[in-house]
């Protein structure tokens, strides 16, 4: 009798387990489906956001506004007929006429480097090498003077290095900017 009871309990538990197992499958499916739905709705929301942002951008940058900005600051104009090249041969022939002055290259338009920007670097080196002698002679305020001199030497050395290394890579005006920058820094430290 007792054995029979255990047996039926066992059957009961087993069937419950199986039933639960069967129940879990659709639950899992439902959960996945919900996740998918959520993703789909997120995508839809993202699309809506993209659309709203696009529309906002289009509205803020509408053609009337762009024209106004162009008129205020950029002042770009439509290219003239002479700026169009009909075929590759004409384009190639433009390079051939380089010497006669009819074609102006962009580099000619860039403001050229003023002479004074480069030249002072060399006297700066000479003073730097000269001054330790003076300092040794006077033996007054040694620390400060040495510091000054080192700064100057470093500054002029840097300027030279920049000039030597990058003259080929950068335009003259860029190097000019760099040089002015280093000189200005050196001046401040002094």
């Amino acid at each position: 009798m007792l054995g029979y009871a255990w047996k039926s309990l066992g059957w009961f538990l087993a069937s419950v387990a199986v039933a639960l197992g069967f129940l879990l499958v659709p639950l899992q499916v439902a959960a996945e489906r919900k996740k998918l739905d959520r993703t789909v709705s997120e995508i839809a929301a993202a699309h809506r956001d993209i659309r709203a942002l696009e529309t906002e951008f289009d509205t803020r940058a509408n053609l009337a506004q762009l024209e106004k900005w162009n008129g205020d600051t950029l002042r770009l104009t439509a290219p003239a007929a002479t700026q169009f090249v009909p075929d590759a041969a004409t384009l190639a022939s433009m390079g051939l006429r380089q010497g006669d002055g009819s074609t102006e290259m962009a580099s000619l338009v860039v403001p050229s480097l003023p002479d004074s920007a480069v030249k002072p670097a060399i006297p700066a080196v000479s003073t730097a090498t000269a001054s330790p002698v003076r300092v040794a002679d006077a033996e007054a305020s040694v620390a400060g003077a040495v510091a000054q001199v080192r700064d100057r030497a470093i500054a002029s050395g840097k300027a030279q290095a920049v000039a030597l290394l990058d003259r080929k890579l950068m335009s003259d005006s860029t190097i000019g900017d760099l040089l002015t920058g280093t000189r200005a820094e050196a001046g401040v430290r002094r």
Partner: protein, 575 residues
């Protein structure tokens, strides 16, 4: 003595009877249990159904789909009209908890376009609900939310937005309710014409692609707007038309309105002058008359000369030239000097039937064919007297819309095929076949003649370097009470480019311009409308795929010997 009082025994039921009662009770209990079980099953089943089948609440959201309208795009896919979800801020005045003055102050601080008094008035309205702001930014909504008043409510509502504001307003139209009809639907332009298509659930996902090129439209609007302001013109119109397909690339009517904000718009601004207003377009009709003469064999030789030595007197009328040459003029010279006298003589030779037939063939007898509801019928002469034939030859006595004129010019230069104009982008190669109005040879001749008018004649200021423009000026006096006004005129320049293989027609028209220093005090088309066309072509020609070239042009060498120049002739003598 003990007396026992016993409760009298109830009469005992029979055993069978008791069994039956128990059985009934069992049956009832069973039924009750089944009912309860069924109830549980129902609830569990419903829960299972919901769990398995229902979509998450977040996925449903507010369903804008049913309220959406389709987008309207230009030919390059730039949005011209869209429906977006805009935040609206409203209030239930009766449900306000906080101090109304305080809330009004805070609202005014957040929305500076109205003052606190205005908001206080809104907060005390005796209504259940009222709007405070229709087009709020999410940021503004957050700030209003921070006030913490539960009676202030927010909602996202679909809203029609025209990102380019006033651009192409007359083409797009607007939506909204009217005084008689409270439904929000298209009330003008494309919005009205394609209302069904834009709101149809099956079709609104597909945007409508217009033939308009927004860059060209913007250039035309800015140039025309500048000219209109400069010359204090009453209104101005501009059309750019593809000559080979009939697609309208730009359609401008000024003054313009903002479809985003219609309140306070005048009737003048709402009218689309390109399709709704008719004008006597004057000398721009002369090339049409000449084309008719050439095509019908009235004029077989370009060198045929007509008498323009003195004004022409016909039936009480006198036809003058604005710039009398006082000599015999051949056909190219007639167009270059824009001679009314010679054109009238040619029209007289053509005769009523052939001229009217040509006007009919060019569509001047009916409203312009375009996908707009706002179209006006031309004013056609009621009686064709001999003088009527003569005057219509140079564009007086017949009034058509600027779109009619643009399409007629397209026919003149495209090889002689008339096609209906359209605002919808056509797929490549899907242009309508159209109908032949002029012969190929006549059209080729017209290209030469129109180019000559620009290089040698009244249209010089319409030239755009490299784009080989050809066209004709027209300065018509405005008919009013008591005859034609000598003061006010309609200045038109109708042009096509590039003349060696025409692609586009550009028409610009200024109504009643006032001369100023820029135009040397002139109000004629050469000084007012032609520069607009020149600038528009210079700005947009390359975008439209026309490569400017100074080495190409239509061959006019055979006509050049026909032009006679007076010694010391002033080359700048535009009509």
């Amino acid at each position: 003595m003990t007396a026992l009082v016993a409760r009298p025994l109830p009469p005992r039921r029979m055993t069978g009877q008791r069994h039956a009662l128990v059985a009934t009770a069992h049956v009832r209990l069973m039924m009750l249990m089944l009912l309860i079980a069924a109830g549980f099953c129902l609830v569990i089943g419903r829960i299972a159904m919901l769990g398995l089948l229902a979509s998450p609440a977040s996925a449903q959201g507010p369903n804008f789909g049913s309220l959406m309208r389709g987008d309207i795009l230009d030919r390059n896919g730039e949005p011209l009209a869209r429906t977006i979800e805009a935040w609206t801020i409203g209030v239930h005045p009766a449900q306000l908890l906080g101090d109304r003055h305080e809330i009004a102050e805070k609202l005014a601080a957040a929305m500076p376009e109205h003052d606190a008094a205005w908001f206080y008035q809104r907060l005390t309205l005796p209504v259940n609900f009222t709007y405070l702001e229709r087009h709020a930014s999410p940021d503004l909504v957050n700030r209003i939310h921070a006030i913490g008043e539960p009676a202030l409510v927010f909602a996202q509502e679909p809203e029609r937005l025209y990102p380019q504001t006033t651009m192409a307003a007359h083409v797009l139209g607007y939506i909204g309710p009217t005084a008689k009809d409270t439904r929000i639907m298209g009330r003008a332009g494309i919005e009205r014409e394609f209302d069904q298509r834009l709101t149809d659930p099956n079709q609104r996902g597909m945007p409508i692609m217009l033939s308009i090129d927004s860059r060209v439209q913007a250039a035309m609007e800015s140039e025309l707007g500048r000219a209109m302001t400069s010359f204090k013109a009453k209104d101005a119109t501009g059309v750019v038309l593809d000559v080979n397909t009939g697609e309208v690339i730009a359609m401008v009517s000024l003054p313009v309105y903002n479809p985003n904000k219609l309140a306070g718009t005048g009737v003048d601004a709402l009218r689309n002058n390109v399709t709704q207003s008719v004008y006597e377009l004057g000398s721009t009709f002369k090339p049409i008359t000449m084309a008719t003469a050439i095509d019908s064999g009235v004029v077989t030789s370009m060198s045929r000369r007509f008498d323009a030595t003195e004004p022409l007197h016909v039936g009480g009328f006198t036809i003058h030239d604005d710039h009398p040459q006082k000599r015999f003029l051949d056909i190219p010279e007639t167009l270059i000097h824009s001679s009314n006298i010679v054109t009238a003589r040619v029209a007289d030779e053509i005769g009523k039937d052939r001229l009217a037939a040509m006007f009919t063939a060019l569509g001047f007898g009916e409203r312009p064919t375009i996908e707009l509801h706002e179209r006006a019928g031309p004013i056609w002469p009621t009686y064709w007297a001999r003088t009527t034939v003569m005057t219509t030859g140079y564009g007086h006595g017949i009034a058509v819309t600027p779109l009619h004129l643009a399409n007629a010019y397209a026919t003149l230069v495209n090889g002689g095929i008339w096609r209906p104009t359209t605002l919808l982008k056509l797929a490549p190669g899907k242009a309508p076949a159209g109908r032949r109005v002029l012969s190929e040879a006549t059209s080729a001749r017209m290209r030469q003649l129109l180019r000559l008018v620009v290089t040698q004649g009244t249209g010089r200021k319409g030239e755009a370097p490299g784009y080989r423009v050809g066209g004709k000026t027209g300065t018509a006096e405005i008919a009013g009470a008591g005859g034609y006004s000598k003061r006010a005129n309609v200045s038109t320049f109708a042009a096509a480019f590039p003349m060696d293989a025409p692609r586009y027609v550009v028409v610009a028209m200024l109504d009643s311009p006032v001369g100023n220093a820029e135009s040397s005090g002139q109000t004629t088309a050469a000084w007012t409308a032609a520069p607009v066309v020149s600038r528009v072509i210079s700005r947009t020609g390359a975008m439209l795929g026309v490569l400017p070239s100074n080495s190409r042009d239509v061959d006019v060498s055979e006509l050049m010997p026909l032009l006679w120049h007076a010694p010391g002739e002033d080359s700048a003598d535009p009509e």
